[in-house]
């Protein structure tokens, strides 16, 4: 079953119970270059595989860009 979540402010459907790690892979991101916040709390990289996505989850996926 698909559930609706929000990733960086955009709606997205994912398989219910799929992990943060699966989402990062699906988006084609390099895990070592991404930090994840779920509903306002950091999901540590070591927990990406074991953290399951729930309906209505709000995720922020960030990386480093140039800045001063």
């Amino acid at each position: 079953m698909q559930v609706e979540i929000r990733v960086n402010g955009l709606a997205r459907s994912v398989e219910r119970g799929s992990s943060v790690a699966a989402l990062v892979r699906e988006l084609g991101l390099r895990p070592e270059l991404v930090a994840v916040e779920r509903n306002g709390r950091i999901v540590r990289r070591a927990q990406h595989e074991t953290t399951a996505l729930e309906p209505g989850d709000e995720l922020e996926l960030v990386t480093m860009v140039g800045g001063g």
Binding site: V7, N8, G9, L10, L27, G28, L29, R30, L33, V34, A35, V36, E37, G40, I42, R44, R45, E60, L61, V62, T63, M64, V65, G66, G67, G68
Partner: protein, 272 residues
């Protein structure tokens, strides 16, 4: 004594210590606004810096993922200083710092809590609030702030590892507008004072370093120059020159002349 040894002796200087990070260069350089990652990498190298700032932003989900900024920064060579640029309230800045720590695995952070997008002036109340929380969480907090010396005192008392007043508004290139405030701030706090923002050209860096600040952080002045690599070189020299001038101790300013050549023994004037 060969020239190299002589130079090392007369230019001896301690490191710049920011919490758990120790730097040799006193120039901190941003990674934004370069024409390419390659140009950025070269500019960083030429500048002689060993601490570079980066920003935290959402991954762009629309674009296929190309090379990353971090692919162009040798972490064995540079300390990475993530910033909370673009945050206009303390909670967002705190979350951004937490994300940066998760991504980089380091506690060093440059805290910016800005007031509004037009002036980009630091918001003092939000800055104090976020400093308190990030120090509580164990971050080594380097705080971008206004040049109000009393605000700097409060930030240092809260546990900031460095107080970093703006010389002038971010990216404005106006240099250090109020050197007296910076001097007073340095008298009032024990932590390193770093001039952050406002540098336009090399003399701005020298002038700041001559005041005795611990370092200068800049980005646009290099990245926005017509020749960024040449400007990076100028900034490296200016930082070193200003630091040495400060350590050497400048002469006092006087109103009247004071001859360098002896006044005695000048031959007599002849009538023609």
């Amino acid at each position: 004594m060969d020239t190299g040894t002589l130079e090392r002796t007369y230019e001896s200087d301690g490191p710049l210590v920011l919490g758990r990070t120790t730097l040799r260069s006193r120039l901190l350089v941003g990674t934004g606004k370069y024409a390419s990652f390659e140009q950025m990498r070269e500019a960083l190298e030429v500048s002689g810096t060993d601490c570079v700032t980066v920003a935290v932003r959402r991954v762009n989900l629309d674009r296929s993922q190309g090379p990353s900024l971090l692919d162009f920064i040798d972490r064995s060579r540079y300390a990475i200083l993530p910033n909370t640029a673009g945050c206009f309230d303390a909670p967002t800045a705190i979350r951004t710092a937490e994300l940066a720590r998760e991504l980089l695995g380091t506690e060093l952070v440059k805290l910016e809590v800005l007031g509004d997008p037009k002036t980009l002036l630091p918001d003092p109340l939000g800055t104090v609030e976020a400093t308190r929380e990030l120090v509580r969480q164990g971050f080594d907090v380097m705080v971008y702030c206004s040049d109000d010396p009393r605000l700097g005192v409060h930030l240092a008392e809260l546990g900031a590892k460095s107080v970093m007043p703006a010389g002038s508004p971010i990216g404005s290139g106006q240099g250090v507008l109020n050197p007296n405030a910076i001097r007073i701030l340095m008298e009032l706090v024990q932590v390193p004072v770093i001039v952050d923002a406002g540098v336009g050209t090399a003399s701005d860096v020298s002038a700041a370093m001559e005041l005795g600040v611990a370092g200068v952080l800049l980005n646009t002045a290099i990245a926005g120059a017509r020749e960024p690599l040449r400007m990076a070189s100028a900034m490296r020299d200016a930082c070193r020159a200003g630091r040495n001038a400060f350590l050497a101790g400048r002469i006092e300013r006087k109103l009247y002349a004071n001859a360098s050549s002896p006044l005695d023994g000048v031959i007599s004037a002849r009538r023609s």
